[in-house]
Symmetry: none
Subunit: 193 residues, 4 copies
């Protein structure tokens, strides 16, 4: 078994991270034991520790990877040269959150809820969650500016509705994670109003 390729190494990491999220989604982070993850990943204890130094590091990597996946799905929507008009944007985001989001049992909403629950007591989690939110917030501000330029929304009056939108977005996450799976159109309707 000579040195494994970097791809294979990453594949193993992903295998473990996916197993972790399946466990976390079932029982929460704190009620998930390393043994749970190990069994779910069909590996041996030693093997997991070959890829992650500790449970702490594994959890952090799990959060990091979840938010990274979310970013990968949101960025194409949020950074279009010509942004979607308001109503479409909302539906597209809702789609990502509610649909794509559930591949591998990884529910982004629940991931955020967990992240928020950990953040006050774990600076590194706080940073990860904060980074994700900052990214999203800033993209939203840029979009609103473009909307104003394009005339999709009135350019005068309260100049930026984005903080409001962002706040509602967070609220939406809470509710959708709370209520459970919902279809994108219902979700969009809720988000829109």
């Amino acid at each position: 078994m000579p040195k494994i390729s970097e791809e294979k190494r990453q594949a193993r990491r992903d295998q473990i991270l996916a197993a972790s999220w399946r466990c976390f989604s079932r029982r929460g982070i704190h009620s998930t034991s390393m043994e749970d993850i190990i069994r779910e990943a069909n590996l041996s204890s030693g093997a997991v520790y070959l890829y992650f130094q500790s449970k702490e590091e594994l959890c952090l990597a799990a959060f990091s990877s979840a938010f990274q996946q979310m970013r990968l799905l949101l960025v194409p929507i949020l950074t279009r040269e010509e942004p979607y008009p308001p109503s479409i944007l909302v539906r597209e985001i809702a789609k990502v959150i509610t649909f794509h989001a559930q591949r591998d049992q990884l529910n982004f909403g629940v991931a955020f809820l967990m992240g928020w629950g950990e953040a006050p007591f774990n600076p590194k989690v706080k940073e990860l969650v904060g980074d994700g939110q900052r990214m999203y917030r800033e993209a939203l501000i840029a979009i609103v500016h473009k909307w104003q330029k394009r005339g999709d929304i009135p350019a005068y009056g309260k100049p930026a509705t984005s903080p409001k939108r962002f706040s509602r977005f967070l609220g939406f996450i809470v509710q959708s994670a709370f209520i459970g799976e919902i279809d994108p159109d219902t979700a969009a309707k809720r988000l829109r109003d």
Copy 2:
């Protein structure tokens, strides 16, 4: 073994619950051991188990009590015969969340974050959190109706702005818990926009 009076019993429970929240606020629920709570409450292990059957039950009672306290503070604001006008209401709620909220180290924002983190894996916590949110949501709807009757806001157009408001309120909680203590006026401004 003379039975203790109901008052004394409740006082002891409150003493333990307050100690619990001080611990939870410092380290989170899962990193708080029964021993931490016992020491913080200046009691013996046995004593705590005289008032709560298990850590599970104690945590549930702690959530219940936190949301009950919040309700006690919000109800007078939300159920006035003549509701506060929009801008004032927002400030009053913000006051409660950010200021009164911190008696006994119990930060309502963090309590909600914790509740959301637990809810997906604990039906009883889910119920408690859900009840609190429902109460708030319904009160908000009633207020909006009164505002419309009174002419504080336009009666036509999108009939209920309350879900929107509610969603933003949840988002606000996330952000305020995340950012840390902020004064009520800043908070109100953020909530209003």
Copy 3:
């Protein structure tokens, strides 16, 4: 089970330390698991950790206690106003090392061998062993001076034979621990010559 008395507490510590030495004597420190000690002491894992914070601390306490016991036995012999004459002293010390020494399966010789084996890698063990040796060495010097005054040994010539004696004493420990149990008279004869 109200607060245990200081005596009982010490008794428990001694019970654990005695069990530790029985285990250490059988398999050595490193091959002795906490579970071995726990079983030998007829206690539960938790109980042992109530008295010693870690295996490390327990081992240290075990060394400390072993050397302390040895000191308790040697001091009366080494600090007599009128020291034993050379030949008797040697027999008395040999007695202690070979006979009393084996109560509770604690063989002082083996304890020293273990201490020497640990000392180079554990500063605290080094200190404990070093302290014991210093004590013995100094007592020996004092005795030799008294012998010279009293005329038991010539006062002129090489003034202090104590380092020599001390070195031989250490060598004797190695050999006796190595050979196993021997009776005090044989031991004395060996030490004397």
Copy 4:
């Protein structure tokens, strides 16, 4: 799988043994993991197990090799047709122990301390250490006889000073390993007295 030449095989074994002693000297036998040795030897786990069946066997070989090296250095000194006179002999031995001894980070003093620490629980180590000591002891007796014949020391009186010398030699090892590196002349002075 072309069989490697016996020389090459021995060279690899020596490479591993040298690496082992460097590790043992740093952290002790029990705190040295196979991985430590493997990394220190710049080999793979599999390779080491090609030359030694187990950690146990490797340790035994390490002791064996250490004592063998010591023998190689001492035998020319101890078996001269015309032995060194007492004072010179002592210096020459001290030289070997303190100076030559440290090639490859292998400190003979520490090796003995370790051997003594293991011997009570490992018959094979006991045998190795015992053999070394016997060899030295016997060589010393032979030398003393020659000294007496030659008149270097009185032939009458206590017939054999060798056991005494031997014991002091062991004590010296303990002390020198304990104190750390010292130069041969100081060492000789200590040994002589």
